[in-house]
Amino acid sequence: MSAVESARMQGERGSIDVSALPETTFGHRAVTWWGTLGFMAAEGTTLLICAVAYLYVQRNFQHWPPAETPLPSLTVPTVQAALMLLSIPVMAWTARAARRLELGKIRLGMVLSAIFALGFCVLRWFEFRALHTRWDSNAYGSVAWAVVFAHATLLVAQLGESISIAALLFAGPVEPKHFADVDDSCLYWYFMTGSWVLLYLLVFISPRLMS
């Protein structure tokens, strides 16, 4: 309660004057950060469920992938994963800039993130082809597509967010809170890329270890 006490000192008698408190904060202090965290929890659960389905269905197959289905090819997904890891420091840099309220830098950062996200989406298209199976050929195809697709929705969402934030930073009236938005967007970015690395290991590497 010390903060309350001190706040009361400066305020009029019997009241806490909060007019001196800041209006923009970052990280766990800000509500939007917690909101982002909430959505990450829900979407993370969704990805987890797809992974569970993938492993559950596996028990019905002698061969994984099934006999006549080739292994998923590695090139594109690996490039994708590498690119994602590469993008993390860029976003970290952007986040730092945002916390220092450096408009110029975060403009650059969000443009870069938009480009990255666009690249991810394009690569994702080829990742679907890299599975060498169709969603409707058998259960293996279904779960493999499900995992990759579920994560694709994150990519598309992030692409939309990056583009609109970038557009806002250039065109729109920038308010202080938008620095916090950029910061949260970076947080989401870590989740998006990090979760893919795991799913990449599951869908593209684990079948190799099995066969």
């Binding site: 010390s2 004057d17 209006e23 202090r29 659960t45 389905a53 409707d136 058998n138 499900a146 806002l168």
Partner: protein, 647 residues
């Protein structure tokens, strides 16, 4: 007790009075909705949205009840030809779906969205526009289900929609797709509601309301929100798998192509069991609140109560397989889930004992809310005990999927959730509307409901033991089930009567009910009773400062209040997570139409998805527009604008 915190114009000296009135007017201008229908549609106020949420959920409760009544009519006599199997299957499926997805969970979330900001002394939820989006998504989902139902496209594979019966081969047409998409709608709104509650409770508590001073209801809402966050996605994904199996020919549940019918059941029940506690835990919060008020005693053993809530929340995730005992699962697994299912009785037991201790120590006032709480304890206990019984595998294999289970689940859900909820309606109705409900009618409502509920569902225990399976549209006369079914139907009529009494009571009170003071129950302990009934758009003229678990009881004369929040724009006070010390001021958005537009776009997308997968592509674009418009800033003069080179 003591005067409401809202500075009362009549109190202070003339000039002070003038300034106070000015303060109220400015706040009113800043926080109230725009006038007219458009303003109503644009509202992002947690109170007006919360009220709509509760009313919508209650309407769905009535619809579900009507379906139940029709089923009871059909089952009243053996070999009855009132309703054929086709309609009957749609009825019980829609009844279950409505009660679980359109009533029980939404109404609990709605009560939270209305009450929590008031109880923790804040002015709105964390993300008001998201809140509006969540509500409209839910509304569209519900309307969608019922439109389909009246178009003879009501889902007919059971609210659990087991594959392959719900799959593409055995469920032709679009009925099951309607079910799957309804689920998606309600999951989205529930998850949004959960995030709202978590963030609001974490970051917006009045100064001094540290975690260990949070009202028990707020605790229960917090636990419920976390359960929703981690349970709901399971059924959302599951139902999407089903929709894909039916629309684009995937094989998630097609045994012949390596899929698995049991995968459906595992994913469904991993949500389905926590669901029960999502419905039950907020009810525990109502019980604690109401008991405290009407015994004038602090709930005994606050730490034990909180720990029990949290424990229930965790254990709730460990029981899902006890819905699948009949499907050849390994012995070891069975034993584990039996033990877990029995264990969850312990935290509930602890809370029961604490409540009894509280009542013992106090002097109860037998108001309608308190009666409903007594009704809760007497009926729910039966459901709890039969719950421990069905945790046993051998016994469950006998009564699983029989009317014994129907009896059990209704004792748990009606006894455990609807009784407290009804108590809550009577308790908070004055706060929501500013008018009291009639106590006399309230007693009738309670008596009829209590009798009707037990007459309807108690015989079903025996019916189940006598071999009557669930979800049968009729039965042979020689089974001997006729009498008990008739009794149950009579009970159903009694329940209907009690509901009518309630509706009449509400109508009467709204028309010319006794006007409610800010604290009509005298001795309420939580902050929502510190402001007028109904609360002003801004909830509190000065945000309160909390000095105990029961702030209105521990209040002193020169109670400190919060000053210095801007009154000319919507500003919230954000406090720290653990001990709620003031941290910063948060600008919260003004009313807008975009959440509604976005919700409609979402709705169109999901409904179109029943017919073509391409709806996803079109829909994504369709939804993106409103979302961007929704987030795009419209600064007013005087708002800080950042320009190049800011530091």
């Amino acid at each position: 007790m003591s005067a409401p915190i809202t500075a009362d114009p009549a109190a202070a000296e003339p000039e002070a009075r003038a300034s106070v009135r000015e303060l109220h007017e400015t706040l009113e201008r800043t926080w109230s909705d725009r006038p007219g229908l458009l303003g109503w549609l644009m509202s992002v106020d947690h109170k007006s949205l919360g009220k709509r949420y509760v009313i919508t959920a209650f309407v769905f409760f009535l619809l579900g009840g009507i379906e139940a009544a029709m089923m009871r009519m059909q089952l009243a006599r053996p070999e009855s030809r009132l309703i054929g199997p086709d309609l009957y299957n749609q009825l019980f499926t829609t009844h279950g779906t409505t009660m679980m997805f359109l009533f029980a969970v939404p109404v609990m979330v709605a009560m939270g969205l209305y009450l929590v900001p008031l109880m923790i002394g804040s002015r709105d939820v964390a993300f008001p526009r998201l809140n509006a989006y969540g509500y409209y998504t839910y509304l569209i989902g519900g309307l969608f289900l019922y439109t389909a139902f009246f178009l003879n496209t009501g889902p007919d594979a059971g609210w659990f929609a087991y594959t392959p019966l719900s799959g593409p081969e055995f469920a032709p047409g679009k009925r099951v797709d309607v079910w799957a998409q309804t689920i998606t709608f309600t999951e989205i709104s529930a998850i949004i509601g959960a995030i709202e509650l978590i963030v609001t409770i974490f970051k917006q508590r009045a100064p001094g309301m540290s975690l260990n001073r949070m009202p028990l209801l707020v605790w229960s809402m917090l636990v419920m929100a976390f359960m929703i966050l981690f349970a709901m996605p399971w059924v959302a994904v599951d139902s999407q798998f089903l929709a894909m199996d039916r629309l684009i020919g995937t094989h998630f549940f097609n045994q012949a192509e390596g899929g698995d019918a049991l995968l459906w059941q595992h994913l469904f029940w991993f949500f389905g069991h926590p669901e029960v506690y999502i419905i039950f835990i907020p009810a525990l919060g109502y019980v604690s609140t109401i008991i405290a008020t009407f015994t004038r005693r602090e709930i005994f053993g606050y730490p034990a109560m909180v720990l029990s809530l949290v424990a229930t929340g965790f254990l709730g995730f460990g029981l899902w397989v006890h819905h699948m005992f009949a499907t050849n699962i390994p012995q070891l697994g069975e034993s584990f889930f039996t033990a877990a299912s029995a264990m969850i009785a312990i935290p509930t037991g602890i809370q029961f004992f604490c409540w009894i201790a509280t009542i013992w120590g106090g002097r109860p006032r037998f108001t309608t809310p308190f009666l409903f709480i007594l009704g809760f304890m007497v009926t729910f206990l039966i459901g709890g005990l039969s719950g421990v019984m069905v945790a046993s595998v051998p016994f469950d294999l006998q009564v699983h999927d029989t009317f014994f289970i129907v009896a059990h689940l209704h004792y748990v859900l009606i006894g455990g959730a609807v009784f407290p909820l009804w108590g809550a309606f009577y308790y908070w109705f004055p706060k929501l509307t500013g008018r009291m409900l009639s106590e006399r009618l309230g007693r009738w409502n309670f008596a009829l409901f209590f009798i009707g509920m037990n007459v309807t569902f108690f015989p079903m225990h025996l019916l189940g033991l006598a071999g009557m399976p669930r979800r049968v549209y009729t039965y042979l006369a020689e089974t001997g089930w006729g009498t008990l079914n008739l009794v149950a139907t009579v009970g159903g009529v009694t329940i209907a009567a009690s509901v009518l009494v309630f509706l009449y009571n509400v109508a009467r009170s709204l028309a010319n009910g006794e006007v409610a003071s800010s604290d009509p129950w005298e001795a309420s302990s939580t902050l929502e009773w510190a402001t007028t009934s109904p609360p002003p758009a801004y909830n509190f003229a000065h945000l309160p400062v909390v000095q105990g678990r029961y702030p209105l009881w521990s209040r002193t004369v020169d109670e400190p209040v919060v000053t210095g929040l801007r009154t000319d724009q919507r500003q919230l006070l954000i406090t720290t997570l653990l001990d709620a010390t003031p941290d910063h001021r948060h600008r919260t958005p003004d009313p807008t139409l975009w959440p509604l537009v976005a919700a409609v776009a979402t709705g169109v997308t999901f409904i179109a998805l029943i017919f073509t997968p391409w709806a996803l592509v079109v829909g994504a674009a369709l939804v993106a527009g409103p979302l961007i418009a929704w987030g795009w800033p419209k600064p007013k003069p005087g708002d800080p604008i950042v320009t190049e080179g800011v530091r």
